[in-house]
Amino acid sequence: MSQLIFLKGLMLGIALACILPILLPPGVRWRVPGGIVLGLAAGLGIAASVPSGYLSYFIGFMTMASLYAILSLGLNTQWGYTGHLNFGVAGFFAVGAFTSALFTIEAPTGLAAQYTQVLFGLQMPFLVGVLAAGVVSGLVAFVVAVPVLRLRLDFLAIATIGVAEIIRLIFQNERWLANGPQPLRGIPQPGRCLFESRHCEWLPESLAWLIEPLGTRDYTAFYLMIVAAFLALIYVVLERTCRSPWGRMLRAVRDEESSAAMNGKNVTFARVQAFVVGAVVMGIAGALYAHYTVAIDYSHFHALFGTFLVWIMLMLGGSGNHRGAILGAILVWGVWAGTAFLANALEPLLALIHEDLPGRAQYIRWLLVSLLLAAVVLFRPQGLLPEEMRVSNHLRGNGH
């Protein structure tokens, strides 16, 4: 095993070590250490055995799946635990992405300023950008939630569709804000300098030889590691908070609103809290997406990609179950990626029906995933991993 393959395998292994312990069933003993060891071994094994083209495809796949898993976790707080119908996930995703981009980008000067206009470019570190993305997204959610959440729950679905559409329109039209309809380019990537020929200034000379063989093409594995770490962190935080009395209050508000109110819970405030927390998580996902793709524009935050896929993921995985949300994200993203191959394979068949059809093969993917959502809603609305009815952490095995 060469040094390069070992390093790539190590990065992939750390990423998998973040995700696998979550996916293992909670009853398994040694779940966390076992998952970490398994993840590291799988990462090294995959890197050693798979050709590098497939390896980078796999890394890209896992990055997008993890990003969607974070979105799905955010939606799970809103829908799974509190019953909010948020059909505007794409809006909060977009707010997070553009906020983080503006916080970390370098404001163009001179000639470049004519081609790229931004409201501000603060050149802050990556983590500040992610934090700001969460905060701004949460603020937007708060502004939306306060007038709408007092009312019937189905109004929220209509209102959030509207909010997402308006957010998209703003990023499409307002040139001064984030370069209007043109993409906002040059979003910095954290730790990118490690992979360039002149290493980071903060890296001691004595350690530089360790990462010598890595080139800029291998950066994706490093970023996957960051996204997976965020996924694991957000999972742990949400799992803790949702198992705390706060999570029980949310479920009480969802299932028995009047008895929750009777027990002295402020129902409206609880709803607003859950909505904002979910939006913060979605904003963080947006930030991670912006730094992944480097260039973003309004068209990335279409309702199809930003909202619809996330809903299928959560519904298939299991609403009200964080593990289900992550599992659903990986499965549906797998289906989505798989249908691309299927659409390609079907092209000759489609050509027999009509000459125009092969060019439209990509829409078959939408057809299939929309049928998938309909099938889940009709036949298994609780999802693959249904919600666990757990009253207390101290009552193990008590399913009621």
Binding site: G83, L85, F87, P147, V148, L151, R152, L153, D154, F155, A157, I158, A159, I161, G162, V163, E165, I166, L169, Q172, N173, A303, L304, F308, W311, M315, D356, L357, G359, R360, Y363, I364, W366, L367, V369, S370, L371, L373, A374, V377, L378, P381
Partner: protein
Amino acid sequence: MAVSETRKPGQELPADERRLGERLRAFIRTRGFLVGTFVVILIAMYVAGLIAGASAQRLLALTAWGLMLGGIIALGSIGLSLVYGVLKFPNFSHGALVTLGAYVAYTVVPLLPQGEALRPFSFGYEFLVALVVAMPVVGLVAVAIDRLVYRRLRNTGAHLVLFAMASLAMAFFVRSMIYLIWGPDFHFYYPGRANPALYLPFGMRVRADQLFILVLAFVLVAAVYVLLEWTRMGKAMRATADNPHLAQIRGINTERVIAWTWMLGGGLAAAGGIMYGLSSQLRPEMGFWLLLPMFAATIMGGIGNPYGALSAALIIGIAHQVSTSFLDPTYGPAVAFVLMVLTLLIRPQGLLGRTEG
């Protein structure tokens, strides 16, 4: 209200004992206040248009176009409102039905022998035939979707949100079918055919097609009125919207009522889509673009109330067009959205909804 319930017959009307804040809140929730808010907003929009440099004539023309757009939105939102009232869920696939109607008519038009344009309109008789064909076709598609998806959910007694989600899935299903069959390109019913504007009094310039759209919208709304008020099916529909269990007990076949509701809603949506396609162009996203104004009109008018949907749609249409005199035209859906949120804040049951919530 608590005050009126405790009053016995013959007893003196008690003096209003509510505090000022309560009285103010009750006043804000009245229909009059909501109408007044809309009037103020519209006046403010005209003033903003004048300040932005639009001439009075232009604002008048925008108002006329707004009425036409309102007619299109009304056709979509009446169906949406009926379905919302009878089946109690927001149908997110209604926009896709609008698009489907436009494209079905687009397929029918070239199948017929092409006649001369019926001047002053830009279309010939074959367009009217296509309209008449497309409406029941889309209605049947809506009924078929109901039979395949929503009825199963009804039978299991599923929660409202599952219906909403299923309708979202169906929206994307129908939309992807439209993309597959007709492709992502723009289309026109009559590419390249001119439709010169008519000169109306006060210097207004309106195309004949636009007048046709407005008239057709009102004719269809009148037909819906006749259907709902004067026929047995209409009465059954209103009864089912009011209380489905009671309607069943009184011997109404609610499944038939639901099927006719879908038929009606789908047909009207198709008409709206065809009119929209005639006034601009056909594109697969057109229904999604109209979805927000349609929902806004439904909620503003009071859910389940087609007349409310009509009046709200006209307000939205005018506000939408007049706002273009001082705002980027792509922000149209945002104008509808703001009006909707204002309604939710002031009077959630809408313009013509019952006062007791």
